[in-house]
Amino acid sequence: MYIHRCRFVEYTPTAINALAFTPLSTQPLLACGRANGEIEIWNPTQRWNLEKIIPGAKNTSVEALTWVHRTIIKESDSCYSQTKEEQEEFLKTLLNKPPRLFSASSNGLITEWDTTLLRSKSSTNSHGGTVWCMSTNHANTLLAVGCDDGGLRIFDIIDDGLILIKNLMRNDAKVMALAWDNEDKFIVSGSSDSNIIKWDIHNARIMQRMTVDMKHGKDNIVWSIKILKDGTIVSGDSLGHVCFWDGNHGTMLQKFKAHNADVLCLASNKEGTMVFSSGVDRKCNLFRIADYFTTQSSNDDFNENHWVLVGFRRTHLHDVKAMALREDLNDKFFVSGGVDTSILVSYFDGFPEDKLQRLPFIPNKPLISISKSKKLLMYRSYNQIKMWRLGNAKLPDSWKLEQIPNLDLIEPQQAILEMTLKGNYHLTASALSEDGEWIAVSDIETVKIFKVQNDPSNPDRICVKKVKFPKILVNGSSAGAHHLMFTLDGKKLVIVNIDSSIIITELDDNQHKEIKILHQFYEHAQPLDGNTSVITSIAVSGDSRWLAVGDLLNRINVYNLETFKLHSTLPKFSSTNTSLAFYPSKPTLVITLSSNEFFLYDIESQKLDDWSLTYSKSLPKTFLNLENRLVGCTFNPINSDAIILWGANYLCLIDFDKCRKEKGHQPHLATCTGWRENSKYKAIEQAPKQNGLTKKRKRDKTEKNIKRVKTDKKIINFQLVFRYRSLMCVDFIEPNTMIVVERPFAAILENLPPSFYKAQYGS
């Protein structure tokens, strides 16, 4: 088998600026805000499934994120609820509402996001320049933001936006951090002129001022403030100090020179016994309270809390900018993120020694589209579409399996199209038709369709012509799509609208005609139990007859594209589906779930496939416990009884045929082997039919590797390959020719500015 190993796609995620967990009163979700304005929503209960991505826009960023979920009744709500029953009813509806997500940007806007349409709901200007920090009070009724002009503004959160109610001005310095006191009476803010200020909100005046150390008379920026349960104020500043202050008197209790550089973020647990700090020197420190009494003199006055620096871990590869903590789930953990673009999940127990998890930075939604017959590969970045024609390698004359070297590229891959889209918003979806004739792209506002033409002046390049396409309206405004997909015959385009309705359009070679909308399905746009949902995956069958669509509420529907009817609704699976794929040869749908289970569904008989009924509940443990969830599924057209499942860092080949043969053999599914290089060659000798060979293509094109794999031992029907890392796309373009697009983490790190910390000893 040949493998095109592509590393030329330069996908670069941007730095993480903010991380926020939803309040405890609602379903646990993590929002992760990035420097380009993108907000990702992760679900920690679904094995850290990346559920949604809210696209960013030009000239925005996310500086702070807050979830708001109101659980109490305000005075202003009294118009809805007079009696006690009405109040209870009203409270119930409040609790059932999904949490609202607010973000603050460097352009001064505070934006509320619609987490199903994945676009902004409303924006409010802070009128104070960049918003550096944002926090709601404990009742989730007020939102405080700290601005560049030194203003601390307090907004009332109403149903459809924010109303400015107070402006606590102090013209001296920027407000870099703020925290609400436990009774919501005070706000403690940290500013860029070395001061920590305690504000009385009701009277809008300064109650206390605490000053942190200054070095050489230069101002020390207080980057982060936390208030613990007992009222202790914790501050992190740009000298690397973590200070603990008495909340009542404003005196410093303890100071730790715990970091070598700026402390950018702090996190504390609910009881206020643990504080984590991190920052530019990449260290993550843990402080804990040690009961501190003299064993000899049991003097009661001297029984105060004493903080101890437990230890640190340096796991991030660049500045850590944000941390968030959650302890009500099975595991107590905190997440941290920063310039190195990936989120790390660390568990409390055994910190700093125990293991941690690095979440993949590649989104679930495909960024790559492939035209198999034309060997074209299209990649969508934030505002660009790039297309390459794949290269060719010189085939070796004879197979010497022991020493399969790299194959020489006789023809390197060729960039044939680079198209920068106008528009303020980042792209949300793109598709390339199988014949390579059509390109569809979409942002949050519009869908654009292009017809590919040969460039007469330059035969190596192609050019595109825009095709007229009717505007899609959602709630009265122009809307784009979340997903786009061409059918394989290239005659239809499936558009998943931002309100989760599905539009089928017909493509016509006649370029003067406007594209027609054939049908629109509304099943996924219907709310289920009052919740609307986002479509996560779509798939079109090889004969262009079937369309399968799955959403976050675990609904999976199969539509017939010839009759435009809903064909069947699949049974609900226990966890979110991450991808859908049709067998190329038969009407069977493969559904992968975030729990790493997968199911095969026979569309014509409308039930699970025999194999799936027998084995899907007894998959090998090793496979189910893989650190990264399944992302996709692909098929070698030559071997109809095997599939290749892949996650961010692994490939897994599953041979169904063998499973059937070995039916009586009970533990055979539990065999899960690593695809190790040494055993590989042996395996190739044993099974010449399934020999593998990879050709690896790097950006510099001359270098090549090889290899690969595929053991044919009798019992093994799950084979894992960890050779490829950070996979963006895995697909077959021909029988026995696979394409693997990867983006190594090291390549992303190379492009980052140098980090502060350098290892000095023993390395």
Binding site: R288, A290, Q296, V310, G762
Partner: protein, 623 residues
């Protein structure tokens, strides 16, 4: 070993023979002995319960498989009633070695650490078993523990050099103790000690650096270049003195104020060196000038020791090296001094040192040192790189005193022996007298046999070189082969060779035989079948000693012979394995010798590298 907490003049010592002895150390008096019947590894007694002992003992292994380093050990609690009958309770046990046993200052807790686990036992008057502390597991192997004198935490040192403070002594923190760790040592922490007010923590390990931690701030102060690995640290109760015990068998007492060494006690250094890598290859050599015993010290050095006063006199660095600690797990290979020899007037010393680590080029140096009367030390005069292409097996000085006749003979595994002399002619005209140097004057070989040993006759006229089973006799002035003596019928190779004093006999030993040749007739005068491990000739009389070790009984028999007769003059059995032996001249003022039967003392090193001296009728342990 510990002081009795109730009586500061009493010292308690526990030992592996199962006894705890109470000493009054001011008068060197044994007050009381408690019999336990089990080997005692560690012990603790508390001020409030003077009749109770907490003792760590080894559990005898039932099967042979557990004979490794990790011995199972248990903590027992003994209580002696009025009649000194012990009453025993088992407190806890573990499958691994106990690494530390401490009590909290108020006597409430007893903390014991094993290889990876720590147990805390609360001591109450009537109830010893109310133990609710869980077994804490440490992530790496624990090497030592200490308890803070006033705050509720213990400090744990581990094999990776980390010091962890664990706040586990307060009831509220039993389940999830707060830990805090500091890390400076790259290698194992050997010892931890808190000052009595709890502000400083001292730690020491393999790096030969004493680290003083200011606990509150984490500030560290270092006392580097202590010379050898630190084994233990203690602090005097008034915090004015720190005492450190080093691996080179010495104790240094430091002032806590300026960290200056106030006093140092130094023992024989070789005892702690790994004898398999750095063997005691020099043996015991008597320095002729002051009659000091010279032997291997730390790798690369030789030490001068005065057995009469039991003092370490001088350390001489044969090959200079930078004192560094290893960077990774692999040990640094140091050069080893193979041979030392002195000229009879003590003006010259020659040494052979080598270094072979299997990676870099092997180094082999022959060095000639001249005594400098001003500094009373030896100054390097000539260094010859690779005097032989293979290892040097022997080094002997010509017994003459005249500088011109002075010569040194070396034999090597490259089948050659070389005679070295002072180069007096070549540069004598131009260069001043100081710049004399040593050059090779003669290279000899006999067929293709490998020389094993060499010896000069007492008057220096004959040089004899022993090949495998052949002894060749050479004229030492003209370097002409004079005679060849062949051992018959035995073909064992010769190990030791010596001329006896004042008599024309040559003694040679092989693995199993002892031969005495009469040089006047060139025939074997007598021979004896005995295992001879060492052969020493008395410089003052005609006698010689053959030492024969017996591994089984851990004994050594010393035969004293007169060369004329095969019947030993006397046989002395010592209950040690003799590692090296030498005649040691009597002190000049020591004229109390009742007879002249033994002209000199005999000193030897036993298997524990204790130095012992044998006189006529006493054995004096010197150490």
């Amino acid at each position: 070993m510990m002081l009795n907490p109730n009586d500061p003049l009493q010292l308690l010592s526990g030992s592996l023979d199962g006894t705890i002895k109470v000493w009054k150390y001011s008068d060197v008096e044994l007050l009381k002995t408690y019999e336990f019947g089990i080997p005692i590894y560690r012990m603790v007694i508390l001020a409030s319960y003077p009749d109770r002992f907490f003792v760590v003992t080894g559990i005898p292994c039932k099967n042979a498989s557990c004979r490794g380093k990790q011995k199972a050990q248990a903590l027992l609690h003994f209580r002696f009633d009025k009649k000194d009958q012990p009453e025993m309770h088992l407190l806890c046990k573990s499958k691994s070695m106990c690494t530390g046993l401490v009590t909290s200052p108020d006597g409430e807790f007893l903390i014991i650490s094993f290889l990876r686990t720590i147990r805390i036992i609360k001591i109450k008057l009537n109830q010893q078993k109310g133990q609710k502390w869980p077994k804490y597991t440490h992530s790496s192997n624990i090497s030592c523990i200490a308890i803070h004198p006033s705050k509720p935490y213990i400090s744990i040192g581990d094999e990776y050099g980390k010091i962890t403070h664990m706040y586990c002594l307060k009831e509220s923190q039993i389940q999830d103790p707060v830990k805090s760790s500091v890390h400076w040592h790259p290698h194992k922490v050997n010892s931890l000690a808190f000052t009595s007010d709890g502000t400083y923590l001292l730690s020491g390990g393999e790096e030969s650096v004493l680290v003083i931690w200011q606990i509150e701030t984490g500030h560290t102060q270092f006392l580097p270049r202590l010379g050898s690995e630190i084994r233990s640290v203690t602090i005097s109760p008034d915090q004015t003195l720190y005492a450190i015990n080093l691996l080179d068998n010495s104790i240094k007492i430091l002032s806590a104020i300026n960290l200056e060494i106030k006093q140092a006690v130094q023992g024989l250094k070789h005892a702690q060196v790994d004898a398999s890598i750095y063997p005691l290859s020099t043996g015991l050599v008597i320095e002729p000038r002051n009659h000091l015993v010279v032997l291997n010290g730390l790798p690369g050095t030789i030490q001068f020791y005065n057995p009469h006063s039991d003092r370490h006199v001088m350390e001489h660095e044969v090959s200079q090296r930078t004192m560094i600690s290893r960077a990774f797990e692999k040990d640094i290979v140091y050069p080893n001094v193979n041979h030392v020899s002195f000229s009879s007037n003590g003006n010259w010393m020659t040494t052979v040192d080598s270094r072979e680590d299997g990676e870099t080029t092997p180094e082999l140096y022959l060095k000639f040192w001249k005594f400098d009367p001003n500094s009373q030390t030896y100054v390097l005069n000539t260094r010859i790189d690779n005097p032989h292409s293979k290892a040097v097996v022997s080094l002997n000085f010509h017994p003459g005193t005249n500088d011109t006749s002075l010569s040194v003979v070396t034999t090597g595994l490259d089948n050659k022996f070389k005679v070295w002399k002072i180069n007096s002619e070549s540069h004598a005209s131009q260069v001043s007298k100081d710049s004399i140097s040593w050059v090779c004057k003669f290279v000899g070989s006999y067929r293709q046999y490998t020389p094993r040993a060499a010896a000069f006759s007492q008057d220096g006229s004959i040089l004899s070189v022993a090949y495998d089973s052949i002894i060749t006799l050479w004229d030492s002035r003209s370097n002409v082969l004079r005679d060849v003596l062949t051992l018959l019928p035995n073909y064992e190779s010769i190990k030791h060779l010596a001329f006896t004093n004042n008599s024309p006999f040559l003694v040679a030993t092989t693995q199993n035989y002892l031969y005495v040749w009469n040089l006047l007739t060139c025939t074997i005068w007598w021979s004896h079948r005995t295992e001879a491990h060492h052969l020493v000739v008395d410089p003052k009389s005609t006698r010689f000693i053959v030492a024969s070790n017996c591994e089984k009984s851990q004994e050594c028999r010393l035969f004293v012979f007169e060369p004329q007769t095969a019947i030993p003059v006397m046989v002395h059995t010592v209950k040690d394995i003799v590692k090296a032996i030498a005649y040691f001249p009597r002190k000049f003022d020591d004229v109390s010798s009742p007879s002249n039967v033994l002209q000199s003392y005999i000193i030897y090193l036993n298997q524990n590298y204790d130095m012992l001296m044998i006189g006529e009728n006493f054995v004096e342990k010197v150490r």
